[in-house]
């Protein structure tokens, strides 16, 4: 199995709404807007859309989005489980559908009034609809371990002990993200950089995590359009070729609570995704020019830098301290500001930024970009992409 998915499909269009704390309109409205914007960006008539891929925790039914854009014949639709961990999976499924010939134009979207309607940060106490999830969370919620931040923190404490990382090492991720956000006019934290001192002084959410270790909560929507690479060559925008696309889940996987593995500080599913991506694309981590590393919580960024092979196990803190993740470093990451700085659109805004880096249109453009790695939520079954030039 070598590279059967690689190079067959491309992201031909990207679209987004504004990012806010209260969109003032329905999630369906956001979904329709971002999908239409992505199709306009690509120069593809909405009537040509014949495939839709999204991922769970989006509340917009595929067929209703299709109805809104005036779709005619829908031949492929998929919805991947596990929320933000699946962020890159719709693009993978779209690339598979296109290369298998079952669809020609596939839209992928995430549209959510997360901040004004749900606020994941408030935690779960009851009313969990999925029985597997409800039984699994029952080992934690009676103790008050109820928030995504708290589950991430349990892994982070052990990571710190295993490798000697400290809170400031997490803080540098946040400072770097906010620096990029400060020069991205579409970012919520545009022109609002922070210092490491700000990070250390931010209130404790759940030790060892401060407020500024946690992604923000946002309303907004992002969509991308996937079609055949050959077709994308003739469309409005420079094609963003999907060089690799993979999903991964490993032994004893749980939703944010894989606390029972031999070493909980190592993200085996991220390593699994990375290994598949590099093999598909026929490259190594050294060939990645810039990366979107899913930043729901800063400790997971360190763990991903290790699992995706940019540094050795336990050495991400030094990699970051040496400036590698900043502009001019060997691997600038989250140049849109990430979910710490631009918006929390469950990873889909990171895919759009990965596409912009390949096109050469990012607000914080890295020079000579040939390959961009995009990752998805970790601590859960995950997914990833390598995007590249034609």
């Amino acid at each position: 199995m070598t590279g059967s998915i690689s190079g067959k499909a491309a992201i031909a269009g990207i679209g987004a709404t504004e990012f806010s704390k209260e969109s003032g309109r329905s999630e369906m409205c956001l979904a329709a807007e971002c999908v239409l914007a992505a199709l306009e960006d690509a120069g593809i008539d909405p009537a040509e859309v014949d495939g839709i891929a999204t991922y769970t925790m989006d509340n917009n039914a595929e067929i209703e989005v299709f109805r809104n854009i005036g779709g005619k014949e829908l031949k492929f639709f998929s919805r991947t489980h596990y929320g933000g961990g699946a962020a890159c999976a719709p693009v993978m499924h779209a690339a598979m559908a296109v290369s298998a010939g079952v669809a020609n134009v596939v839209i992928c979207y995430r549209a959510m009034n997360e901040r004004s309607a749900y606020r994941f940060g408030r935690g779960v106490q009851k009313g969990i609809p999925d029985m597997t999830a409800a039984v699994s969370l029952s080992w934690y919620i009676p103790y008050g371990l109820v928030t995504p931040a708290s589950w991430a923190a349990m892994t982070a404490t052990r990571y710190m002990a295993e490798y000697g990382a400290v809170s400031e090492d997490f803080g540098r991720v946040s400072v770097a993200a906010r620096k990029f956000a400060s020069t991205n006019p579409n970012a919520w934290f545009y022109e609002k950089p922070i210092t490491l001192e700000d990070h250390q002084n931010s209130r404790l959410i759940v030790e060892p995590l401060h407020l500024l270790d946690c992604c923000m909560e946002s309303d907004g929507a992002v969509a991308v359009v996937v079609t055949e690479a050959e077709r994308a060559r003739d469309l409005k925008q420079k094609p963003v070729v999907i060089r690799g696309a993979a999903q991964g889940s490993c032994d004893d996987q749980q939703m944010m609570t894989s606390f029972y593995r031999e070493n909980i500080a190592w993200l085996s599913e991220a390593a699994l995704v990375g290994n598949q991506l590099y093999e598909q694309a026929g490259i190594t981590p050294d060939d990645i020019n810039t990366a979107i590393i899913y930043d729901h919580f800063t400790p997971y960024v360190l763990q991903q830098l290790e699992a995706y092979g940019f540094c050795k196990e336990g050495e991400a803190k030094d990699f970051i301290k040496d400036g590698h993740i900043e502009m001019g470093g060997s691997l600038p990451i989250n140049t849109h500001g990430g979910q710490l700085g631009e918006a929390y659109i469950h990873g889909m805004n990171g895919i759009a930024e990965g596409a912009r880096q390949v096109r050469g249109t990012s607000a914080n453009q890295v020079e000579h970009v040939e390959h961009v790695l995009v990752t998805a939520g970790t601590g859960v079954p995950t997914s990833g992409l390598i995007l590249g030039t034609l």
């Binding site: 940060g121 029952s138 708290s150 404490t157 060892p208 029972y260």
Partner: protein, 146 residues
Amino acid sequence: MNVIQAKEKRPPRPRPIINDDTDFFWNGLKAGKLLIQKCTGCQVLRHPSSPMCPECHSLDWGTIEATGKGVIYSFVIMHHPELPPFDYPNPIGLIELEEGVRIVGGLTGIKPEEIKIGIPVQAEITKFDDDLTLAMFRPVSNKGGN
């Protein structure tokens, strides 16, 4: 173990959702026992519980009563959001039991700033209300506490 009555009256804690694979555990706590699932086929312990043994695929299992002795493998201290059923800061541990499995439980009888990985702890099965009995863990060196 003796079941201890929680001292402070607060709004009820979130209930566990219990199914056929987990009811032994919650019933065990109500009876003062910290029960861990044990495969009848290959004798391997497992937690969280599951209907099939991932090692030998046996569907037959029993339980052992854990001593409740273990060490803190990892921990967090909850500050925000503050939910009415809990005191804050709220320390919660991932405990490696001496039998070899890990389990999450509340930490009690220790100041948050003194919690460290590797501290030996002992389970204290604590009744919060008629429907909810949980495993809390207290450092073994600490005789007093709150």
